[in-house]
Amino acid sequence: MWRCTVCQHVDLGETAPAQCPVCDSPQDKFAPYEPPVGGTKTWQNLKAGFIGESQAHERNLAFARKAEEEGLPQIAKLFRAIAAAEGVHAYNHLRHLGLVRDTQENLNAAFERENLAEAKMYPRFIAEANQENAPGVALSFSQARDVEKGHGKLYEKAMQHMLAETETTYYVCQVCGYVSDGLLPDECPVCGARQSAFKSID
């Protein structure tokens, strides 16, 4: 990663870019980027900033769908635009934390996150939801857990086949997030949603 010493833009490439994509400074203005030391206040704040912006992004997208439902397309557009802006902020904070590496390492990080969610986080959340007599929430957590397990497998496959990439289309269930590789299912194997609930990702 490289830092433009003129405008502080952080570039993710292996080598410094020929020209800063933001301020047009030449290559010799770039220096290797060193993220703040883990655990310092600034590091913690970047992390908190990343969490806050990610949540705001998600919340705005939910608000946009609601505005669309209420027949307010202009407000929906505003929510989507600002969601994108919060996404840019989240991206910047994550970059400055030094947490965007090359794709091999990114896939590893993603795989570990899915494992943690599937094996640790959701099982505890499901047990506690049952304990507190919230069966709807427990079901939602358990669908998410099953789906994360599938994601872990997809990442694993991607890591194994990174060099021999094959073309495929992914279909995502908009009810529970189940991802199908190459095949549009008749109904979702996790939540039972109909085929029309799937969205293809190109």
Partner: protein, 167 residues
């Protein structure tokens, strides 16, 4: 809803929101490296995490009418503008972390504009109308948000006009 389940839903919402964002960033990186299929996988899973985040958010009962949602959005921006980013900025200044300062500065400047836009939209909804809004453009470098045409140069980060994304 009881406390432990509510806290868990909040934790799950935070986790899925972060996963969604991280995977989108990872997808950009894979695209840059010329790995189009990996990029597509990352975008597919990012979208799935967005579905989870939205489910948890709904289960928390945080999705109100659009007028309520706009108020919640104004409150969120106000907190970030008046408390969160100024505090983060002060620490980064003290620790001489220039990169972090830049990242916080970009966010703070945009959030100020967002709060105003939400406020205006809320007034329209409360008088029974949709907002009157032209194109909204967002700078992909710093998140600066403008109603109307993209400027030649972003006034916050200096990025050129082609860096703006239209909504």
């Amino acid at each position: 809803m009881r406390k432990m389940t509510e806290d868990n839903l909040k934790g799950a919402f935070a986790g899925e929101s972060q996963a969604h964002m991280r995977y989108l960033v990872f997808a950009d990186k894979a695209e840059e490296e010329g790995r189009a299929n990996i990029a597509r996988l990352l975008r597919a899973i990012a979208y799935a995490e967005q579905v989870h985040a939205a489910n948890h958010f709904n289960a928390l009962g945080l999705l109100g009418s659009t007028a309520d949602n706009l108020q919640a959005a104004v409150d969120g921006e106000t907190y970030e503008v008046e408390e969160m980013y100024p505090a983060f900025n002060a620490v980064a200044e003290l620790q001489q972390e220039k990169g972090a300062l830049r990242s916080f500065h970009f966010a703070l400047e945009a959030e100020k504009i967002h709060a105003g836009m939400y406020q205006k939209a809320k007034q329209a909804v409360e008088s029974g109308n949709d907002a009157r809004l032209g194109d909204v453009v967002v700078c992909s470098v710093c998140g600066h948000t403008v109603e109307g045409e993209a400027p030649d140069r972003c006034p916050v980060c200096g990025a050129t006009k082609d860096k703006f994304r239209k909504f």
